[in-house]
Subunit: 270 residues, 4 copies
């Protein structure tokens, strides 16, 4: 049977990424509590395609994914990238794996348990050296400092969403970054709250007003103190209760070996 | 050229709906200020298909849509349904047209103008008699009565979304239903607010705490007083600021000629 | 601490549904292979609220969900509905649970395995008697009979999506309905295909042209032969390769004890 | 009234972007036929925030948007960026405007007219010098060369979506890039097709098989011949008819003054 993909292409154009996109797959990831968490991931996998080949072999991506689905971690992503390069005769490889991650969380006063969902994404590539980014999103409550200051009673507040993206120098747990985010806003969000919990959080948020700008700065300060990351980006979005759009803030920074900030740099520049 | 669609089908099964789905089209709708508003609609159009035909003629739906796109209103929807039945040799016809509708709205204190977007949907069908439903969604602010009552300071609040669906006995303006929704919550939502406006709305919401349950009851009461509708449904959803999920409430009711409520009835029962 | 929700409401309006919406939760469901499948569900839970109560107790829904998350099936949904009615002092209860369901599927010629994702949804309610609907969506390939007939070579084809919703009289497996759907189109869809598989499916689809109308009729016929269902709806949508919109067809039917069709009836009419 | 946003912040952290996100607004854009096209845009607007300020003034973004909504073009985006920098006391500004753009398109044989929708996005920033990117997405048909080659009859084909992003040296029309995309695939997509049109397109696609890799290379070659662009990216995605996921390819390139390609460079590197 003819292999059309292996045919020669005469257009003299390298392709940066060719592969499969938006495939849904059941995967397992390692949790801080020691077990493997089952979840469902949306996955993209690409390799480069040199100018003399007509097409890539799409089925091989899914074959690789099928092998590794039972244990997805930074360590296996590294092996997946190696396998992609080898089995697809490529020079670079790229994989993105996005999934909901669940943690049981107890209400702050009554301790009532509920599962909280956090969005995670791994963005891994190999082009010469390997590069791993981890993206973690957690919901928070923010209470507006301006509204509180100018109003005789109350203050508008809302659900927000904070995303931290990291390049790391040392191993870290997703759980620790989630905790960092949740402690960088006016109050935390829970799946179950009884009345004593609701009172506690309402008062905590009122005592701790924060703009989206405050949230990204607070989270960025904590990331710098951890000294575990060579690059980070922090993004906060408020689903404003007084508007039909969001308020938004974003900081990103490359961190030098001495812990000082240097110039900016997008992930792609490395 | 053979007409496959007109071929005979032997499976003896009528099809309830056959047609086109999720087509995006630029349309114009009549606004209360007298002008025609340009907007973009997502549209579904279906007819029934008797058991002896193999297929419907999909291109005719879009031809009809193309003709009527410049003036979409209850009056033209009625004509569209007639045309669909005739040109597709059908006995029933169904069209759904969903679009964002914009109104310029001034901030409550400073009067600063901004455009507000509301989601509208017309659901029209002809099966023997004609049936028209109009669905209008507006964003609102809700402030939690429980949180306010039990907390020493502040109260959690959030953006919510209220949807009213109507079968009407008399003509009405979309603008009037939007106003009804916006006056049935703790406070209104705006696209531009200066500080005096923000103070006003924060205090208004605090003075006017409402659960989702309060919102649907308040809106339902106002709808019943208008006596213009033979059936209504009111749905409220709060994007809770203390949770990562929504609080939700729903009322629907058939209204008798005397204005009293009678038994329940979904749209499909009529 | 005051219970605002229990306060008296004077507006004299019953609320049909009050509860929580769009909560993401990890659940486990029974699979035909005997094991429990871990997946992630989006869930809505509502009860009615009599006119004399101001609000429902939102936290109790999530407490119930948390208890039952490890084993979700028709049997447990029945118990969940009972619990909701009891613990929320309600007369009716409603739960919707939507989740991706995965099945390992071998390519048709080479047998290469891959995971396929199918969308499932349970819609369960108790209002006097209990009512359970199961909704299953599977992707398929459809090849246009008209295009094939009129063209000298080739025929346009595309991915489609078929959804079957059922009320059942006897237990059935999700897997069996998925198989029914996949055998009602021009060809099946797979996650991994090698070249011999691709040749097989291309030729199979060409040999088996079907409109969306053919797909819903074929699936409906098979459902009627199974005699396990008291009501069904079949919906097919083609993501047309020659258009930027979908072709769509829909059949629904109430089935009498003798297996004959009687008059139509939407779920809500029962 | 206190201006909380102007208060001093002591954390010593600049914020890269602060502003409003996901605001829906009615806008008008210049069309090649000379008229102004009304459409609906989703808009993000950000400025930087120096380390000594606590917050930005969110309402000013929407005031600026409200002024310019009637005529949005590269020329006005340039003025919007200047206004943002000035009215928000910032050093950099960023605006993203995404909208559906409609063109009336005649079926290839019968000439039957229908409106086609294309997705457009402007991404404009000022940070020292100004940078403008235009992103245009059009649907296409792709027919698989491998499937055609190995099968005795037929070939799988599907709807695809091609996105071109450009930095330009000279003015160009959106219409011209749409035409470039539509002529880089197996066949074009239409909103209305009669049977002679369907025959024509089926045969055209069969005669012109293309992988996603072929599509991005063909489009890239055409862009290079135009010599109007200093940088481009071409992305193609096939909604595979035999899979439940997409095939994907991506090329990007910086173009030197002499028209040759030099090294790669992401937008952010400039």
């Amino acid at each position: 049977m003819i292999d059309m993909q292996n045919k020669h292409d005469h257009r003299n154009l390298d392709i940066d990424k060719a592969g499969v996109k938006d495939i849904l797959y059941p995967i397992r990831v390692l949790a801080k509590n020691g077990g493997m968490q089952h979840t469902v991931a949306k996955i993209n996998m690409y390799v480069d395609l040199p100018r003399h080949f007509k097409g890539t072999h799409m089925s091989r991506f899914v074959e690789i994914l099928h092998e590794y689905r039972g244990d997805m971690s930074i360590r296996t992503f590294s092996r997946i990238l190696d396998d992609m390069v080898e089995r697809l005769d490529a020079q670079s490889a790229h994989i993105e794996v996005a999934f909901p991650y669940f943690i049981e969380k107890a209400a702050p006063v009554t301790g009532t348990p509920g599962m909280m969902e956090y969005a995670c994404r791994f963005i891994c590539s190999k082009k010469g050296e390997k590069d791993f980014r981890v993206e973690i999103t957690a919901p928070v409550t923010t209470l507006c400092p301006c509204s509180r200051e100018i109003s005789t009673k109350g203050a508008h507040n809302q659900r927000g969403r904070v995303t931290i993206t990291l390049r790391f120098k040392r191993f870290f747990w997703i759980e620790d970054i989630i905790h960092l985010i949740e402690s960088s806003a006016s109050a935390e969000v829970y799946s179950v709250l009884k009345r004593p919990d609701e009172k506690y959080l309402t008062e905590q948020a009122y005592a701790n007003p924060m703009f989206v700008e405050d949230v990204v700065r607070t989270a960025a300060q904590k990331l710098e103190q951890m000294k575990d990351f060579s690059w980070y980006a922090v993004e906060a979005e408020n689903f404003e209760s007084i508007h039909n759009h969001s308020a938004y803030a974003y900081i990103e920074k490359k961190v030098t070996a001495t812990g000082e900030q240097r110039d900016k740099g997008t992930p792609e520049e490395r």
